[in-house]
Chain length 153, copies 2
Amino acid sequence: METEIFFRMATEEDLSEIVAMLADDVLGSQRERLEDPLPESYLRAFHAISADPFNELIVACHGNKVIGVQQLTMTPFITHQGGWRATIEGVRTAASVRGMGVGTKLINWAIQRAKEHGCHVIQLTTDKSRPDALRFYERLGFEATHEGLKLKL
Amino acid sequence: METEIFFRMATEEDLSEIVAMLADDVLGSQRERLEDPLPESYLRAFHAISADPFNELIVACHGNKVIGVQQLTMTPFITHQGGWRATIEGVRTAASVRGMGVGTKLINWAIQRAKEHGCHVIQLTTDKSRPDALRFYERLGFEATHEGLKLKL
């Protein structure tokens, strides 16, 4: 399997598989809606993401199967001498390939992409109820230096 | 002072005052460069921010003085049924007005703006070495549900 995984920008045709991965998760099952047809809000978000050159929905593929997803945004901030940051969101792999290193490949791809773009840091937040995810990112070199705060609107 | 504070988008002419506020801080003093003229990287970031309709550098003003700054980005994600999120970064107030509620007004302004845009959540990360900042955000209703991870590139 090692040599056959590749990454590409998601297309509209990938959306159902992406939402299926997002929903196949303890937290995701409570907040996603995997329906046929998909709720319009996913399509609207997909088009808004596609319209932004610095917001990328990326899928990992194995042959013609989508086996992983992540979203990478690159944002200019005024802090850190006007530096760009990359942010990773919504990392998921298909249940059929879990434990096979696809998540690691996804994150390493994002790190490389962020470097190419000239970002000085790559960041993400992970729910404190996911200790395994925290350890996964720490193994990849991330440091939990910050509190991640949210306020529902 | 209460009634005289107002908020507006930052202009290029505000940049020196903004960088002065960012640099007047334990962490910021190590990573910003308050020079005359300002390093070009701040101007490039300012123009990149201005070119994005969903990335806003906001200043709080009192009369003709800039007394606070924050950056608000609004981003469409595929997670949460394709929901938009608002992210706050680089919140600072001028030393001369600290403890006068300007920070609270800035954040409440951002919350209102994020609601108007239809964001389902507003989020930020705060360095674990800033316990006062954490308490400040918790008082405003934010919950530290996530770990904030960073990897320098």
